[in-house]
Amino acid sequence: MCLAIPAKVVAIDEAGENATVQLGEVRKQVSLALVDGVMLGEYVLIHVGYALNKVSEDEAQKTLELFAQAGVSP
């Protein structure tokens, strides 16, 4: 139920109310009512037709680095 998927913003309407997001080959219109300041090219988390949050590129990178360290650190 709380499933949400990260998708790339490829278009935003003039009013800034809705965005078109792309996930693989699928495009879908979603509401931006819950997130401010979404920019083209950013990734947002999509849940039941709404963008819930932005996905942070920097933080995603840091988490992946943390995984990679797991087997190495004491």
Binding site: M1, C2, L3, P6, L34, V48, E57, F67, A70
Partner: protein
């Protein structure tokens, strides 16, 4: 897919598994409860349990909104269709949940009731606009992730003056449920369930932030790690919980930093606060009445509240005899302990809610785990 595939890499999973085996102390047990059905699903689908040493066990929690909705509320939704001839819109997850008298929303639809599966509250609003001569009710369920879209729909309906739209509110709250589990006699006194740490929800936390869990960590002395829904997220979070337990710490840590902050999505929180307020008490399947664990529509929006618009008789339905969903939801029993599991209760013909939703523990066991634990079944 970006932000998905990287978090499922095989090589890193092996590495994390090795780190967990190395750091888990063989002289102690680690019982880690994943609250969320999304985590339950990930643990089974990717076989994460099989990568853990024997003393690291996942305990499945009640974080599947379909599973915890009491039968009575589905009876009440069916009443709206049958007695008031409304168009009932809802998320697909709910359609097959068994109600009283061997009914379900999908059977009501098959019998001619106007039940429609929608993807978004925006679809429900559109159906209301397209059918001005019909009453359209959105049967709203879900935790904090799914509540803000309902709040947006109510505000939009009010602004548009959409008179034939209303919402049947069943939104529930995560922190209240976690507290209820920690305070239950099974955990506190009887010791039949031991929970040493918690995986915090991914997307609920993206809305409410990590701050609300700080109270539990401190009060109940249990570590909490907010975990993403991908298998590597779950494994890294298990490692973080094991480290906290080894060091005697009980803090709130956040593994899912790419989405979750301490404060959460404040715009969504504000919208929810404008439209909804706490219910004094709400019934959960498995947990019973839980104080201040759900939301209702505020007075300013009461003309859009289906419970105010339509007379709905309260249903006190009970679960199917023999169904262990209530104990499974509290982590007291496992799906394979239920006599109905895999015999009369399967995803094709579910008897209990935990078999309906793909996030339910029974459905996860059936799809991915039923051959792993054969001993209890044949016993």
């Amino acid at each position: 897919m970006k932000y998905v595939d990287e978090f499922r890499q095989h090589r890193l999973a092996r590495q994390l598994a090795a780190a967990i085996r190395q750091e888990a102390d063989p002289t102690r047990q680690y019982h880690l409860m994943e609250f969320c059905g999304g985590h339950t699903h990930a643990i089974f689908r990717y076989g994460v349990q099989d990568l853990m040493p024997d003393n690291v066990k996942f305990v499945h929690g009640p974080g599947c909104p379909v599973c915890v909705l009491p039968i009575g509320r589905i009876d009440e939704a069916i009443h709206l269709v049958e007695a008031h001839d409304v168009i009932l819109c809802t998320y697909g997850d709910l359609l097959r949940v068994p109600a009283s008298g061997r009914k379900s929303l999908i059977k009501v639809k098959a019998a001619g009731g106007d039940v429609r599966m929608v993807y978004s509250t925006q679809d429900a609003l559109r159906i209301a606009r397209e059918n001005p001569d019909r009453e359209v009710v959105f049967f709203a369920i879900g935790f904090e992730t799914t509540t803000p879209p309902s709040a947006v729909a109510l505000q939009q309906a009010k602004a548009e003056g959409l008179k034939n739209f209303s919402l049947f509110c069943n939104h529930v709250l995560t922190p209240a449920a976690i507290q209820n589990i920690l305070e239950s006699p099974e955990v506190r006194e009887l010791g039949t369930v031991s929970i040493h740490g918690f995986f915090g929800p991914s997307h609920v936390s993206s809305i409410i932030g990590s701050r609300p869990y700080e109270f539990f960590a401190e009060e109940f002395r249990r570590p909490v790690v907010i975990a993403g829904f991908e298998p590597l997220d779950v494994m890294q979070s298990a490692l973080m919980l094991i480290r906290q337990l080894n060091e005697g710490r009980y803090e709130v840590e956040n593994e899912y930093t790419r989405v979750v902050t301490r404060e959460g999505n404040q715009k969504a929180q504000r919208l929810v606060g404008e439209v909804f307020e706490l219910r004094r008490s709400f019934e959960w399947r498995g947990l019973g009445q839980v104080p201040y664990s759900a939301l209702k529509i505020k007075r300013d929006y009461e003309e859009l509240d289906a419970e105010k618009r339509f007379p709905i008789p309260v249903s006190q339905a009970s679960d199917v005899k023999g169904c262990e969903c209530p104990s499974i939801l509290r982590g007291v029993k496992r799906p394979t302990d239920c006599k109905l599991f895999g015999t009369v209760c399967t995803p094709e013909n579910p008897m209990g809610s935990c078999m309906v939703s793909s996030e339910g523990a029974c459905a996860a066991y059936w799809s991915y785990g039923r051959f792993r634990e054969p001993a209890q079944r044949s016993a």
